[in-house]
């Protein structure tokens, strides 16, 4: 009989790494999404081009290829990253590129009259974005951001391939040590699904909060 408690503990340790990666990756992705999304709407051609190149590059190749590139090729350029740093960097930049399109779409979905009203009220560019456009655009972005966060969570499984000890990696360890395949993989599938459910519940809560006070402005 196999002592499962120790192995389950191992998988739970991996779950912590997965959660940590998801949170840090999401934070980076959020920053990149706003930077690149608003960058694409910039009035300067150089900023727009830079943002477009970033978005197309990271959306055009998969997270796996980017991760391997960051982990194996960057060291030759003198940048050596730990697996965790490489994972956060690749996941954040990849999902950030998808998020940037969401930011851009939501900001553009805000009606022209809102921009015109801001000009009429003599608000500057920063204040226009910060106090008028973004508060209305945010509720539009949140559902897709939630999906992107779940994609990021699913992407974290890939970091096990650069030997970061996340949940998938630990499941492989358990498989190698016990020879049992069903229990480790079924356990982590359920844990991943539970995390995905937690993310979508959290996003729904945020959505309610963000749209508070916007009643009557839009449906």
């Amino acid at each position: 009989m196999i002592d499962w408690s120790g192995y389950i503990g191992l998988i739970l340790q991996g779950a912590l790494v997965t959660i940590e990666l998801t949170i840090m990756g999401s934070a980076l992705a959020l920053v990149m999404a706003f930077a690149a999304g608003l960058g694409r709407l910039s009035r300067f051609l150089a900023v727009r081009t830079l943002a477009t190149v970033y978005i197309e590059f990271f959306r055009g190749t998969s997270i796996f290829v980017q991760l391997f590139w960051v982990y194996f090729v960057l060291p030759f350029a003198g940048v050596t990253l730990t697996p965790l740093q490489a994972g956060v960097l690749a996941l954040g930049l990849n999902v950030g590129a998808y998020g940037a399109e969401v930011v851009r779409g939501a900001v553009r979905a805000i009606g022209r009259e809102q921009h015109e009203a801001c000009v009429a009220l003599n608000l500057g560019r920063y204040h226009r974005m910060r106090h008028v456009i973004l508060p209305q655009a945010l509720p539009l972005m949140l559902p897709t951001f939630g999906n992107n966060a779940i994609e990021l969570l699913k992407g974290t499984a890939v970091v096990s391939l650069i030997s970061l000890t996340d949940m998938t990696f630990q499941a492989q360890v358990v498989r190698a040590q016990t020879g049992s395949t069903l229990i480790p993989f079924a356990t982590i599938l359920i844990l991943y699904f539970a995390m995905a459910c937690a993310i979508s519940a959290g996003v729904r809560w945020l959505e309610r909060r963000a749209s508070r006070g916007l009643d009557g402005v839009r449906v």
Binding site: K154, F185, L189
Partner: protein, 220 residues
């Protein structure tokens, strides 16, 4: 370390060999996904709540968990119950089922967009349910969804490197073995990135064309 063109020429044939498998896996995966998605979408409309709920939950579960773990599941767990699949077949099934759940949502939206009157007219002209699906509903529902489906198939193409984790000798795996045997990572990894980027950019252009061709059915 410097970029070495001689090494690029040396590994190019192996990489192209891998690219062939990558494209093969994408095409087969897309076919499986298109079929699985359609079946899921139709079964999910079943009047029996037990069936439609179960299928709905299963689809949500598959969509909420990583493809890599699902591939491991198919590749390592199924042999225990006597189903031993070659890596490529396991990979195609994994890709097909995973993206099939996404395709099911596309089909669902497309089917919902067919006006109710079409159903009623089909039933009124005494077509069976089967005939109504095949001759009335699906021919109207499928063309508008082609761009959205193509979008998911491009996404699937980008996920094929995961198949290297279950020992399929596709592009990424060939690049890894080339890198490991020579300790040169820059060229193989960069080339894999370039291959994927180029094919993705081409497919985005093709996608725009598909959108113009199919997305505006009502306006014709």
């Amino acid at each position: 370390m410097e970029w070495d063109w001689a090494f690029v020429r040396e590994i190019m044939p192996t990489l192209l060999e891998g690219l062939k498998i990558t494209i093969l896996a994408t095409i087969l995966g897309a076919i499986v996904a298109a079929v699985v998605g359609l079946v899921l979408a139709i079964v999910r409309r079943s009047p029996n709540p037990l069936i439609s709920r179960t299928v709905g939950f299963t689809a949500d579960f598959i969509r909420g968990t990583p493809l890599l773990v699902q591939l491991y599941f198919i590749f390592y767990v199924l042999p225990d119950i006597g189903i031993r699949l070659p890596p490529l077949v396991a990979g195609v099934i994994g890709l097909g089922i995973h993206y099939g759940t996404y395709a099911a949502e596309v089909y669902r939206a497309g089917i919902d967009n067919v006006p109710r009157g079409q159903w009623e007219a089909a039933r009124a002209t005494n077509l069976s349910i089967r005939q109504a699906w095949i001759h009335v509903v699906l021919p109207q529902a499928i063309p508008p969804m082609i761009p959205a489906l193509a979008n998911y198939f491009i996404a699937m193409f980008k996920e094929t490197p995961l198949l290297s984790a279950i020992t399929v000798l596709e592009l990424m795996n060939q690049a890894k073995s080339a890198a490991n045997s020579s300790y040169r990572y820059i060229e193989p990894m960069t080339l894999v990135g370039v291959f994927f980027l180029v094919i993705s950019l081409i497919s985005v252009v093709a996608l725009r064309w598909l959108e113009e061709r199919y997305a505006r059915v009502e306006e014709r």
